[in-house]
């Protein structure tokens, strides 16, 4: 049984190792990423049934969100042994991306968790605790998501060609419960696939990345709920909605560490804003300003002048020093920018609030501007297949350098040495005691008893599937960032990212819309007004939008989900009462970029390994000295990570030693051709 699994996965693993150190990044690398990770998982989970994990690691990391994954990759890259665990059955925690069906089961899981009372058994691990050791239990419940609401507006009618399901009786907007009932079949299936990324390769191949997306579905043809479910695998729905600043910490890290080769990116085509109910383009680059029809020539000059000043504002302190204590807004007024321009700069370029102070506003503007032009005319990139790809890319990096991965596997408690007040081991959910010198953990695993302060913020999120873009343009395959200034002055500004199907996050003919703001109430309270302002929300599912021309011009919402996510980004080590070698990673924050998480990862890494470089680039294949000497050894086997795996799987090799070399050879032969 094991061998069977092993053999199936072996080929992709080796292939990846070759590609990994190759110059060129082939299209197939992307798919390999997924196989690679899936393979590690398969191997590990099987091993756990058969035998225990190694009992000693340098670093144990719990949670596979962005920060944790970066730390894992960084540690593994410099030779630390890393065990990376997650209690969920998918990667990336609150950073995850789900297929539509995957998301439905995630919703169901959330609903179940609300009902089920957790009973904890402490007794299992009591026996493992020695004298002089203390225990810090971890939380087994994730409470970072709240106020989840789901509404479906797509027609429930079955499609003509489909004859399997009986027509549904319900005509009211369906809430989450009904949704999940209908899709039990799909959701179990989704769970069985272990992780969302392990989609089959053929399926991915059917959506070639470089080709333009499929022709848009004819307007007449309505998209039904069944269609969404049927095409569910074309969706990659992010829980967090972020973009990558092209000169932000994340992009720099991806480049520096060569992790960028595991993913592909698309740039954001439109920077939009919504004023007085009208969606319009924000002139932010030189070309935009030049082409803008809304600005007068004098405004163009004023704006360009201001933006040019912002690029190196530190050089001209006399311009702004009187305003350092005053809001950015006032500074903009003083710079004689028209109302129009003030709005553009404040909300869409600096993306700060009315209260933000001048210097911070200038910095934000500067950051935005510096990102322009690196990858096209907008400052942002988006990873194809969703943001959830990024943590997985780092996990892969970690795995390639020998890190071990287990999903659906958590830590029950930490074993603390009383004398030094340091964690010396952890006890996993299978009752194994694993010693480690450092423990990195995501915030949601921490119990309230260990918190000094529980004052965290919340992020309000909405995810919509719509049938059209908010700003139709020549090309319907553009990703748009829309900033929506607060409707009332007290409300928070809302950020909206509209993803097209060529971003590989939604099915052709639909758009996936993410709304984000810092919470003042529940997500629905915060965001529903914006949704109804920008979109057509029908009262009856599947109903044709009313005849009014204005209504028709808005995209229709097919499906919407609201939820709140806890934002712990303001917390630091002083917020927890934990041993000094426990490093807590806060979850995703509400900002547009990921700089906060990357900086945190770097600081944790330097805490653990003060003298090591953070994510140095992976070496070129030509520069690697192969074990057992210089001339190119046959095919794979040059990478230490493969050796590591080989050691781990030593038992398997011994069982069938005769087949192994033959297999290696055949792999070596097939590798080049399979890459093409």
């Amino acid at each position: 049984m094991f061998l069977l699994y092993f053999k199936t996965w072996r080929i992709p693993v080796l292939k990846i190792c070759c590609v990994h150190f190759g110059y060129c990044v082939f299209k197939c690398v992307y798919f390999s990423v997924r196989h690679d990770i899936a393979c590690h998982v398969t191997v590990c989970s099987f091993k756990m049934a058969a035998e225990d994990l190694p009992s000693q690691f340098d670093v144990v990391i719990l949670g596979t969100g962005l920060t944790e994954s970066v730390i894992a990759a960084a540690c593994s890259r410099v030779g630390q042994s890393v065990l990376h665990l997650d209690r969920r059955n998918y990667y990336a925690g609150n950073w995850a991306s789900f297929t539509f069906n995957g998301l439905l089961s995630w919703i169901e899981e959330y609903k179940n968790q609300q009902k089920v009372q957790i009973t904890e058994s402490e007794q299992v691990w009591r026996s493992l605790i020695d004298e002089g050791e203390d225990v810090v239990p971890l939380s087994s419940v994730d409470s970072s998501i709240s106020n989840l609401e789901v509404f479906c507006y797509a027609s429930e009618e079955e499609e003509k060609e489909e004859e399997t399901k009986a027509p549904l009786t319900s005509c009211q907007p369906v809430n989450a419960e009904t949704v999940s009932e209908e899709t039990t079949g799909d959701s179990t299936e989704a769970q069985d696939t272990v992780t969302e990324p392990s989609q089959s390769q053929e399926e991915k191949d059917s959506q070639p990345i470089s080709s333009p997306a499929d022709p848009p579905v004819e307007v007449e043809k309505k998209i039904t709920y069944q269609k969404l479910v049927k095409e569910g695998r074309r969706f990659n729905i992010d829980l967090v909605s972020k973009l990558m600043y092209s000169r932000g910490a994340l992009v720099d890290l991806l480049i520096k560490s060569n992790v960028s080769r595991y993913a592909e990116f698309k740039n954001i085509g439109h920077i939009l804003t919504c004023r007085n109910g009208k969606v319009e383009q924000v002139p932010c680059s030189r070309a935009d300003v030049f082409a803008s029809k809304q600005l007068t020539v004098v405004e163009k000059r004023m704006l360009m002048k201001f933006l040019t000043f912002c690029l190196d504002f530190e050089q001209h302190p006399e311009e702004y020093q009187d305003y350092t204590e005053k809001p950015f807004r006032e500074f903009l007024k003083n710079k004689k920018l028209t109302e129009n321009l003030q709005d553009f700069v404040l909300h869409s370029i600096a993306m700060v609030t009315q209260q933000t102070l001048t210097e911070e506003g200038l910095k934000a503007t500067q950051h935005f501007l510096r990102c322009l032009g690196r990858y096209g005319n907008t400052p942002f990139l988006f990873p194809l297949y969703g943001l959830g790809e990024i943590p997985q890319c780092f996990c892969r990096m970690c795995a390639v350098f020998g890190g071990i991965y287990c999903l659906r596997h958590s830590v029950q408690c930490l074993v603390v040495d009383k004398a030094s007040n340091k964690v010396k081991a952890v006890i996993d959910t299978r009752g194994q005691k694993i010693s480690c010198s450092h423990f990195v953990v995501e915030d949601s695993y921490i119990r309230d008893e260990q918190r000094q302060s529980t004052a965290y913020r919340q992020i309000s999120r909405a995810v919509l599937i719509t049938d059209r873009s908010v700003l139709p343009s020549e090309s319907d395959q553009q990703i748009s960032l829309v900033t929506i200034p607060p409707l009332e002055s007290s409300a928070p500004a809302v950020r909206m990212v509209e993803l097209c199907s060529s971003s590989m996050t939604c099915m052709p003919g639909t758009y996936l819309v993410h709304l984000t703001c810092s919470s003042s109430g529940t997500a629905q309270e915060d965001l529903a007004p914006v949704v109804s302002e920008l979109f057509h929300v029908s009262t009856i599912p599947g109903e044709e939008p009313s005849e009014g021309a204005e209504e028709r011009s808005k995209p229709a919402v097919l499906w919407v989900m609201y939820f709140n996510m806890r934002d712990t980004s303001a917390l630091d080590s002083s917020s927890y009462s934990l041993p000094s070698n426990v490093h807590v990673c806060t979850g995703p924050d509400g900002s547009l970029g990921s700089d906060c998480s990357i900086k945190l990862a770097e600081s944790v890494f330097h805490h653990i390994l003060p003298d090591e470089e953070f994510c140095p680039p992976a070496p070129n294949p030509e520069d690697i000295i192969y074990d057992g000497d210089g001339p190119q050894a046959e095919g794979p086997g040059f990478d230490e990570s493969v050796n590591t795996e080989a050691e781990e799987e030593g038992a398997a090799h011994e069982k069938n030693p005769s087949t192994e070399p033959a297999e290696m050879d055949s792999v070596a032969d097939t590798t080049p051709s399979s890459e093409e």
Binding site: S81, V297, P619, E622, I625
Partner: protein, 514 residues
């Protein structure tokens, strides 16, 4: 340490790279020699194609090889069917495309591509246009590609409107693109051809173009590409031309000058191809020479009222920009030019002030601005003279650095150039055939080469200049009527025996001040 990948040291890497390079070089050289041998042996076969292909794919700038390839292709062509020829050349196009990826600015490649297209029985221009678009999207300033594109457009008959849209697109994505702007300037006259003035653009289109240029220079006033285009546009609306009269006049075919003699003036109706100008010729001294030693006046066609209003509006928008960007040199310069086109005399004061600012903000070009300013001042003075019909030309204390338009001063008898910054009296000065008195005190004149064969020159004052050598004064000997010469305050007076030398050189000068 456990888990670390071992990496070669840099020295090792360098050594390997060096060896690699040597190997490559050796292979290249031997292949090159083989090809050249084949060529001198006059072999034109498939093998030659293959060998040159190998060499050119690593170095597409090897012109001899492209030539050889053309010889081979021409040879092969003769022995093949039409569709085989098509195939042969299509594969050639593919190969060139690969070479262009190696060096997208290879002269040889682009030239060869044009050639192949002329040989192709059925050239596919759409594909060629696509190739150009791809190339230009990677580098919008690749002029090789622009050149090639022009050929393609010409051959494939793409409409002017489409081409204009193409430039719209390129300018929209980045307006710092001289090629696009220039291309536009060649397209616009074709778009609305006007029977009389083939190089002019219709009013309506012109206004759109002005707007486009405004958008560009208000967005980035330091980008000169848009300013250049703008200046071209301004030149379309008006005809500011100044003739070089004398020489042209003599060259005119018989009959084009219909002169109506009266006592003092001669009016010439001057008909060139499409333009029609009048100018008055002042009769010269008929007695002395038969040649129309006379003349002239610049033909400066007045602006029509509507054109002036357009320019007036343009001047306003430029002034608006200047308010926002008081230091912008392009804006200043354009304003000066507009003012000159509108009313050179009325704006003289402002123009001078703007020149002053220009010299301050752009000190590297201050000499250029000084020269330009001198030119404008001289033009203005000529204009004033024209109106007053006087024959005295006075431009003292104006910071002149250079002299120009001397050809238009043929009838002047008195010139005062004192207190300027002139360094020389240029050879063109000899055109002032009627000159009697020259005052050029307080300059920095070193050379007098223009004071040559001036038959009426009687008096020259060159106080406080930089005339150093006696030889500098030699040209004066050819001015037979020169009797008064003032050389006070020049280094030349230090020369030994200056008095006697001078009286020997210029025996006719009776009143000499040293």
């Amino acid at each position: 340490m456990h888990g670390r990948v071992k990496v070669k040291s840099t020295a090792q890497q360098e050594e390997e790279k060096r060896k690699e390079r040597e190997k490559k070089l050796k292979a290249f050289v031997s292949a090159r020699d083989a090809v050249l041998r084949k060529r001198s042996a006059g072999e034109h076969d498939e093998e030659a194609l293959q060998l040159t292909q190998q060499l050119l794919s690593s170095n597409p700038d090897f012109a001899t090889l492209w030539n050889y390839r053309r010889e081979v292709l021409l040879q092969l062509e003769t022995s093949r069917e039409k569709d085989e020829v098509q195939k042969l050349y299509e594969s050639e196009l593919h190969f060139i495309e690969a070479c262009l990826k190696v060096n997208p600015k290879s002269y040889g490649c682009w030239h060869h591509r044009s050639w192949v297209n002329t040989r192709l029985p059925q050239p596919d221009w759409t594909r060629e246009l696509g190739l150009c678009d791809r190339c230009l999207s990677l580098d919008e300033r690749n002029f090789h590609c622009w050149d090639y594109r022009r050929v393609v457009v010409k051959e494939s008959g793409v409409s002017v409107e489409q081409e204009l849209q193409f430039t719209d697109r390129l300018i929209g994505s980045n307006f710092s693109n001289y090629s696009s702007w220039h291309y536009r300037s060649t397209l616009l006259p074709q778009l609305h051809p006007q029977p009389i003035h083939s190089h002019r653009v219709c009013e309506e289109q012109l206004l759109k173009e002005y707007e486009l240029a405004h958008n560009a220079f208000f967005t980035d006033p330091n980008d000169q590409s848009a300013w250049f285009y703008y200046r071209w546009l301004l030149g379309r609306g008006v005809c500011v031309c100044i003739f070089n009269c004398l020489c042209q006049l003599c060259d005119l075919p018989p009959g084009s000058v219909s002169d109506i003699s009266n006592e003092h003036n001669l009016t010439v109706h001057w008909t060139e191809k499409y333009t029609h100008r009048d100018c008055a010729l002042y009769t010269g001294e008929h007695r002395e020479r038969r040649s129309v030693a006379c003349v002239c006046v610049c033909g400066r066609s007045e602006l029509s009222v509507e054109k002036s209003s357009v320019l007036q509006a343009e001047l306003q928008s430029c002034n608006q920009l200047l308010e926002l960007e008081p230091q912008n040199k392009w804006c200043l310069l354009t304003i000066i030019l507009l003012m000159r086109a509108l009313d050179p005399l009325g704006h003289e004061k402002e123009t001078l002030a703007h020149f002053q600012t220009l010299k301050e903000v752009d000190p590297m070009r201050s000499s250029y601005y000084s020269d330009l300013c001198s030119k404008f001042l001289i033009e203005n003075t000529i204009l004033k003279m024209e109106y007053a019909e006087v024959r005295v030309f006075s431009l003292s204390n104006k910071n002149l650095t250079t002299l120009c338009h001397l050809d238009q001063l043929l009838l002047v008898t008195h010139i005062n150039l004192s207190s300027n910054q002139l360094l020389r009296l240029p050879p063109q000065f000899a055109m002032l055939q009627c000159l009697e008195v020259l005052e050029a005190d307080d300059n920095a004149i070193e050379s007098l080469e223009g004071l040559y064969h001036l038959p009426k020159l009687e008096e020259v004052s060159l106080r406080n200049n930089q005339i150093c050598k006696l030889s500098d004064l030699e040209s004066l000997a050819s001015c037979t009527k020169l009797t008064r010469l003032d050389l006070r305050g020049n280094p030349v007076h230090k020369t030994a025996n200056i008095d006697s030398e001078l009286s020997q050189l210029l025996p006719l000068v009776t009143a000499l001040s040293l």
